[in-house]
Amino acid sequence: MADVTTAQDVVTYRDSVAEGIAREMRRDPSVVCLGEDIGAAGGVFKTTVGLFDEFGPDRVWDTPISEQAIVGAAMGAAMTGMRPVAEIMFSDFLACCWDYLANEIPKVRYMTGGQVTVPLVIRTANGGGLGFGAQHSQSVENWALTVPGLKIAAPSTPADVVGLMASAIRSDDPVVFFEHKGLFASKGAPAPDGHVVPFGQAAVLREGTDVTLVALASTVPLALTAADRLAAEGVEAEVVDLRCLIPLDVSAVLRSVERTSRLVVVEENPFQGGWGGTVVSVVADEGFELLDAPVKRVAGANVPLPFADALEDQVIPTVDKVVDAVRSLATY
């Protein structure tokens, strides 16, 4: 595969997925991949391009369309000495193997009294914005968030894709790794050699004094654009990229709110049950006296994702919605 670490100023988020996996497969022979169309085809999103050629069919296993078997087999392999990286093509399809995410993988260590460890990664393309309709567009990180025992990563930049992939694959705990399909074509600085981003460490991507915007994956560039627009109006927004949901870096959020005294959470998953509710509840509990205004959540609407671009924009977060939310706080 192309060596994206040299002679390139920028790389894509898409290529960084394969790069992140390849780095770990080179350093650890127990890392193996399985999923639909991930082999010679290079993945439907071209996120596994080059892996099959470099590592062969034993370590990059094309499976049938059998989500239960993919994730169940990954679990069995993880319990017996391998570090599988399973791909579930669209995150909507996690529902087809939900038993494994809800009942099997996250509970087996606990219910066996610590006898069994499940070091696996489930990668999946998450989110909307591309007009794929209601069954191929959902942001479902909140599904995983409801289950104790899963770690959750959702990078927003190419370098974080590589760095968080390293942490995910090296984790002895099961990780659900959300790649946002709306970000695949986005570009950024390549990851340095040996790049590892520890779980549970949010990044402050833009410093500000007036309001904290907490974002994840697709909503990070959205929050950054909103912050630029707000700066023109004299409002300085601080943008915090959570990067992970479990472990959740609420300390970074509280530190930021201490500086800004206002909070807007920007999440693509539906408002009902979204992770922003957890962030906000911790701030309300532990940071109430830091706040000078109510907290706001800009989230997906509680409707299935519609097909038409204009309709989709109505129900998922947009720059305008974030700017409006911040304006409403600024005048509070």
Partner: protein, 329 residues
């Protein structure tokens, strides 16, 4: 009986089955006396499947079991004391009192868990077999499951995946003819719910007398031999019978008159004792083995009763590999 079977081998199998039978009886009695809470799904009557399978395999081979898994755990080396302490919520329980009857696990012996969502563990066994191939060991993985599991999607996905890669996995169906409370035949389109489906996935299948420990052992030995030779998975359908109801709240009134009695004539311990006598073992030696089993379980009940209750701190351990449960910074 194969030529290599000695009377000593048979007596050991018989004694292990007797330990399981006694343990199940103890679990039943402890439930009635209020010392076992929750529920139990007893496997009395199924002993030959677990013990025969284990006898045909090697140390290091993997087993994945169901919520009716006491017999598999004991066959793979869990002690009656560990199991009963788990059922009685004691700190000395096999799973530190965090699993209970439906999740008995003896990972260090290759018994990688009991799973209470019907059929969920079949793909796991496929994954363990895949892992064995990747690590270039000759291990095989066994998935034990009931007849009811053959109608869920994961059964079919697992068989297909195992077949595609010719993985060393054995699918051992304990067909006790009841899917919980409902006769399997009344909800299934084929007569042998596991064995009849196997050919559609290109997998060889065998129907075996699940109450005959030697028949089970020999069938598993054949299947394991094929698996280790790289010839892929096998489906074994072991026909057996559940002495108790589905769970401890089920008196099994739905069973036709005389059915239990007919099966009890071919109870695994009765069949095994008959083979022992044919091979020249005396009734005294058989009784001595059964008495040893009874003593082991009697001591296990006493020890479990005397053990401390679950350690309260355990509620917050073992979520993560670092031992803890922290979800935030």
């Amino acid at each position: 009986m194969t030529e290599t079977t000695t009377a000593t081998d048979l007596l050991a199998l018989h004694e292990t089955m007797a330990v399981i039978r006694r343990t199940e009886k103890a679990a039943h009695d402890l439930f009635l006396s209020g010392l076992v809470k929750g529920t139990t799904h007893l496997a009395a009557g199924h002993e030959a499947v677990a013990v025969g399978t284990r006898a045909a395999l090697k140390d290091g081979d993997y087993a994945f079991a169901t919520y009716r898994g006491h017999h598999h755990a004991i066959a793979w080396g869990a002690t009656p004391e560990e199991c009963l302490a788990e059922l009685m919520q004691r700190s000395t329980g096999l799973n530190k009192a965090k699993g209970g009857s439906m999740h008995l696990t003896k990972a260090e012996a290759g018994m990688l868990g009991s799973y209470a969502i019907v059929g969920a563990h079949l793909p796991m066994a496929v994954g363990a077999a895949w892992s064995a191939r990747l690590r270039k060991t000759d291990q095989v993985a066994v998935a034990f499951f009931g007849d009811g599991a053959t109608n869920i999607g994961a059964f079919h996905e697992a068989l297909n995946l195992a077949s595609v890669w010719k993985l060393p996995v054995l699918f051992v169906c304990e067909n006790n003819f009841y899917m919980e409370y409902t006769p399997i035949g009344s909800v299934t389109g084929v007569g042998n719910p596991a064995a009849d489906r196997a050919p559609s996935y290109g997998i060889p299948a065998e129907v075996v007398d699940g109450n005959d420990v030697v028949a089970v052992r020999d069938a598993v030995a054949r299947a394991a031999g094929r698996a280790r030779a790289g010839d892929g998975p096998t489906v074994l359908e072991a026909q057996t019978y559940r002495h108790y109801g589905h769970s401890r709240t089920d008196p099994a009134k739905y069973r036709p008159d005389g059915e239990l009695e007919r099966w009890m004539e071919r109870d695994p311990l009765t069949v095994s004792a008959g083979r022992l006598r044919e091979s020249g073992t005396s009734d005294d030696d058989i009784k001595a083995a059964e008495d040893r089993a009874a003593a082991v379980v009697e001591q296990a009940v006493a020890a479990a009763k005397a053990a401390p209750q679950a350690d309260l701190g355990e509620a917050f351990t073992d979520v993560w590999a670092d031992g803890g449960a922290a979800w935030r910074t």
